[in-house]
Amino acid sequence: MFQIYLPIAEISVNLMVMLSLGAAVGFLSGMFGVGGGFLLTPFLMLSGIPPAIAVATGANQIVGTSVSGTLAQWRRGNVDLHMGAILIAGGVAGALIGVLLLRYLRGVGQAGLIISLTYVLFLGTIGALMLWESVNAMRRQRAGKTVSARKSGQHNWIHGLPFKMRFPRSRLYISAIPPLVIGGLVGLLAAFLGVGGGFIMVPAMIYILRMPTNVVVGTSIFQIIFVTAVVTLLHATLNHTLDILLAFLLIIGGVIGGQFGVRAGQKLRGEQLRALLALMVLGVAVRILYDLVARPADLYSIIPTAGG
């Protein structure tokens, strides 16, 4: 009764399952300021959606949840527009490269493998680093010391780069090159993995750009809107892999879940948030690694044509 046929994916899915999936991912998105794509895309593939359609549709869903997430952050003054604009400029360029790279790899027949390996590498490394950092922060705090993720006034190599710009909201005066490069890398990942890229953007902002923690989540989710919108458009145009109906179901669940996520996130402390996110990122990495290493149930598979 609750089955619905998806026109592009060409399969029938359960309406409630897709709404719940959207809601769960939206909740995490609002809570952590990540797009949630690194969870959504693998989950969609597990539900039988062809990988390429999962990637494009996931990106479209992230646009929706990011809009409501950004509005909630915007009201609290947590979005650095200047930084966002630079990140988007890099992100759009990166997205274009990512979509073209994915097309090439699909042609060679190794897209799935490279995507999985990239997932394991990125999620594993970042998850482990974040967990290490947040556990240390929690231990230091328990010992009674004050904790600040931002070490103000401390200069690093970034301050030696040219094209310095002022970012008033972040109270930074740094070169435009690092945010441009970070934006580009995240855009590439967004197009390639069907993720918003928040899981790499947030730590990069904290540890490399040294932005204040309060603007990190808002600025990250703000730039995700634009980068995932470009990714959606590119995939729809070049690969015909966007399923609007599926995206619509995921978005409905996502915007509702996102609102509750923002509130839940405010009740948790920064390092607890980061530890939780780290555990989730590691969990997904392990799951994907398992699929790569475990003997497949069937060694043979039908290579999807056209859509998938």
Binding site: L71, A229, T237, F248, V293
Partner: protein, 270 residues
Amino acid sequence: MRATFFPPALVIFALLAGVAHAQVEVPPAPVMKPGTSQERVQADISTREIAIQSNFTGIEILIFGSIDFSDARMPTQGNYDVITVVRGPTAPIAIRRKTRVAGIWVNGPSETYPDSPSFYAVLSSRPVRAIASNETVNELGIGLSALNYGRGTPESSEEQSFESALIRLMEEKGLYTEDDSGVVFIGRSLFRATVALPTTVPTGRFLVDVYLFRDGELASKTKGSLEVSKAGIEAAIYNLAFQSPFLYGLVGIAIAVLAGLLGWFAFRRD
């Protein structure tokens, strides 16, 4: 549901015009012996047009028909069997095998079958091999092992394992079926067969062939077709996605942004 009968005249014509006419698709010359068997089979399909809409979860179609014994010399003698073949549009299908490299399963060799039916179902009143000789069924292209999928017969065990993987994978998806008892006789002359089209059914024109065998020889044949297409909002989305992909992408983004705005307005507390 719409029932349209095969024009009987066409069936008769096909039989009279006989062998030469039918040879385009099927070369039944060594099989059919005009004069010895003049029974005719007539059949129709319960649904001629299948529209895939948002509530589509697969559909069962009924193929029904009767054997007309009027011209047969000895209508009470002989063993009659019916085989029904439903064929979807042909398309290339590629099969890939994973191999283990440094502990990781990666995509290895692949084989392409350029001329494979996207849907294929054989339903018969008895096992096909028990109804007619291998030679006959191979000539008529009845049964998964009788198809060559746009390639020759497999020469190596490697090619053989790829072809059996193709058949197995398509069977798992419900796109290839062989049912030995799929054709059920009701009395002596009426029969029916049910074919399940899964959710993943391809779109396009499906050909339905109904063969009547008497004592292992093809006695009569009739054909029909059905059309599977997307309809309603499904068709609108599909057409937009492939005909104006840029606009389609923009629509997707617009829906997402709108939903995001609405969600925020609906849930904000201030």
